[in-house]
Amino acid sequence: MRWWRKRSELDAEIEAHIRMAVAERVARGEDEAAVRLEVEREMGNVALVKDVAREAWGWVWLERLLQDLRYALRQLRKSPAFAVTVIATLALGIAAPAAMFTVVDRVMLRPLPYKDADRLVYINDASKRNEHDGRSRAPYLDLQEWRKWNRSFESIGFYTQANGRNFLEGKIATEGVGFYKVSANLFPVLRVAPALGRDFRSDPDSFAKNADEKSLVISDAAWRSMFGGDPGILGQSVKINGEPYIVVGVMPRGFSFPFDPENPEVWTLVQLADADKGRTDETPEYTVLGRLKYGVREAQAEAELMTLQKQIAVGYADTETRQERSGVWLGSYSGSLVEKDAKRALGMLLAASGILWLIACVNVTNLLLARAMVRQREVAVRGALGAGRWRIMQQFMAEGLLLSGCGAVIGLGLALVAVKLFAGGIKHHLPFPVAIVPDWRMIAALLSLTVVSALISSIWPAWMSAHAPIEPALKQGGWQTGAARRQNRMRSALVIVEIALSLTLLVGCGLLLRTIYALRHVPLGFRTDHIIVANLQIPGYKFAGRNMTNNLYLPLLERAKHLPGVQAAGLMSEVPLGTTFNVALTLKGDNTGSRGATKDVSAKLNAASPELQKIFGFKMLAGRFFNEQDTASSEPVIIVNRAFAKAFAPNQSDLNKVIGMELWHITPNKNAHIIGVLDDMRQMTVADPSQPEVEVSVPQITPESGVYKFLEGIAMDLALRTDRDPKEVIPELREVLRQADPALAGSNFTTMDQVVEDSFGSQRLAAHLLEIFGGSALLLCVAGLYGLLAYVVSQRTRELGVRLALGAQRGDLLWLVMRQASVMLVSGVVIGLGLAIASGRVVRSYLYGVSARDGWTLGLVAVTLLVVGLLAAYLPARRAAGVDPMEALRAE
């Protein structure tokens, strides 16, 4: 370093000066030793000369900073407990929000892999009063009008998902893919072009046969996993579900639409047909995606389209349909990717981690304050020796910088590990793979915030002590000054704040734990133990024209039943609490009121096989479950659940009456009769009550029946009851599936217990994280309380000694400290309870089976905090009581 060389040069220069001066006088005949002393006296303070000379270089600040850092390091090494506490506290305080930030950033703030993704919105038909009950999409004619007349959008594209499960036969492997039929301008709307090859020809959509009809664009993931990233893929013919397509383009890496980066996707052009020329119930609908013009707000665009749609809706002949379609609603594309529930959970967790950060900062301030008090005398001595105030503050700042720097680095490391650990847990609830690398801008903001806060909390006490009069501090060690008492009050206030914040966090944690407990104890209405579930990856296209029931499902069931250790095997479109598939059925109300419900009944439709009852232990309210006699040749039968019966039964007081009623035809010309009523069970989520449900028997579903396409080609779960370890059975089951069809081997396997556990969703994740946050907060606030009391006791040792000498009992001293602790604890708890009750609104929507102001939780948390706090106070209190009066007084 140049600076070091310059420094030694200066030393050499001064040394040469002295030598020359001495040499000259010696040459004049004076005594060397005497001359040397004399010259040095003339020179004055050599170190100061050098200092001043160096100041001329303008480098001193750096030199001083290094000096200060070295000094700070020495100081910290002398009190390792203090250093470790501060660093650990800061690390914890930084790690929690940094980790949360990373996740939230990914999920809520991160731009999607499309340009200006915030301007992408879904456009959907809605009813007149803009009620949509989650209904989305619009028919072609409507969206074509929007395209023609709107002024809010740059462009509008649309797409629809191909029915059922789709398999792409690649060069290397055949895999299930997401298969979408898109409008020619969809990729331009997204502002993304293929990385390889070309986009679809941008002819305007029309009913004429499109030249690109059989062109296929594939995702980078599909290209790599199924074609080995072969650039020669362009122009090649590939098969989807056995149908040939020509690959014309490969999308860039990371591109995914609709956003689902976990799965390979392929796109082809949508081919409009005659059906698209109408406006009826049967008209195909598309998901419409528009790009807003720059500066146009969503609400503006929605208002414009609302007005347009009122006129467009006149084109609907049927009055009811017209009613349902005379409005429009917009939904932001990026907002649609994460469930509201998960978003709320993340927001709440972020707030919780922020509170933890605040607690950590308060704690560090407190620790640094205590340290400044202890060092008041040192500061006074240095001031007396001529150190400037600014210089002393610099010194403290260096120490703060060192501590917060260490804390920050360790905290970041912790955050990285935490994100890595949670990534697995989070994955289930979020569409995004959470990357391990955090966003550096976020982290930088957080870091600087922390460093600044640590600096402020280290400068402030330094400023205080630097401005305190030197004399009294030197005289009596500064212990009994008014400033000290003021600082103590200040520190007590900080501890109270800490306790209050911790209590708020702990209450949140407690409420969520109660929620999880309540969820776990909801009667599900079925058994979950010893059940293995396979979510079948059905290659429906291979069975076109054949009866899947006879050719695939029944033989498969037979083989699965005969696996060793399997007691029963059954099929169901979707096991309870599963999340992969859902078919809804609307039964039109009969206005005559003679046969059933007078209003429309919307019900979940499920296919089920007879042995399911043995597996899940469904309870029948009335009638029977399917049995082996319900086959394709026998009378069609249907089972409904209690919720359905309630909505449908002509007589509410006797639900059994629905048995024997005819519902609708599964098979043409053969009406199905209701033969049983299932007791209610949890279907979609544990927290929601039952919805009406209708079940049909798997063997009775034939290609002729209307529901065959929906129920057999797309989704089917295979459930096994077995006492054996799932880890052993699953490979055997996979082998059975592989023999039935190679594609089936790609099915997902899980256990029913796991399905239930997963369905707790974000509550479980939130509870786990809050446990950690709450625990850390408790630890920090207890450490803060203990630190303050221990400091106060050591400060008052002499006073305590005097009290003892004057006849105070040791119990009195114990009580003295405990009283101080109790005051802080009680005020902290009271404030905290207030905060918790006030913030109840935030968590309320999140709870199940427990109120946000649940007395038990609040009480229990308050008592826990008090007890732990008193325990922490007891240690210093006992030390206070154990003071030896003789020693305390002699220390004077």
């Binding site: 200066l10 040469a16 020359m20 050098k50 001329a56």
Partner: protein
């Protein structure tokens, strides 16, 4: 405080000391000790330049690029840092000199009118 006092003294002498140093270096490169001796001798032993002022002044002049330095060996075989005046330094010296002469004339004028 000790340091403040030093600083004050430097400031008091600053203008003139810089000028004296630059003037001395007019005659050729010289080391710090040589400069102080030269000023002492040419002032007729009146002006004693203190080391505490000399070296900071030299480093300041160097930073302003009015002098430059290199290490040489003296006649008595000592390694020493020699300072020499730069072109900018010479300009600065001429300027200082003008101002000094004006100042002397002005102060002389004021002192001359004073009744003694």
């Amino acid at each position: 405080m000790a340091k403040e006092i030093y600083k004050n003294r430097i400031e008091l002498l600053q203008g003139t000391l810089d000028m004296l140093i630059l003037q001395t270096l007019q005659w050729g490169p010289q080391h710090g000790y040589g400069i102080s001796q030269a000023i002492r001798v040419s002032s007729g032993e009146v002006l004693q330049v203190e080391t505490g002022s000399l070296y900071p002044a030299l480093h300041r002049l160097e930073r302003q690029k009015w002098v430059e330095s290199d290490w040489r060996v003296t006649e008595s075989n000592q390694r020493a840092k020699y300072y020499s005046i730069t072109a900018a330094g010479k300009e600065q010296l001429a300027e200082n000199r003008d101002r000094w002469e004006q100042m002397v004339a002005a102060i002389g004028g004021v002192l001359g009118t004073e009744p003694s």
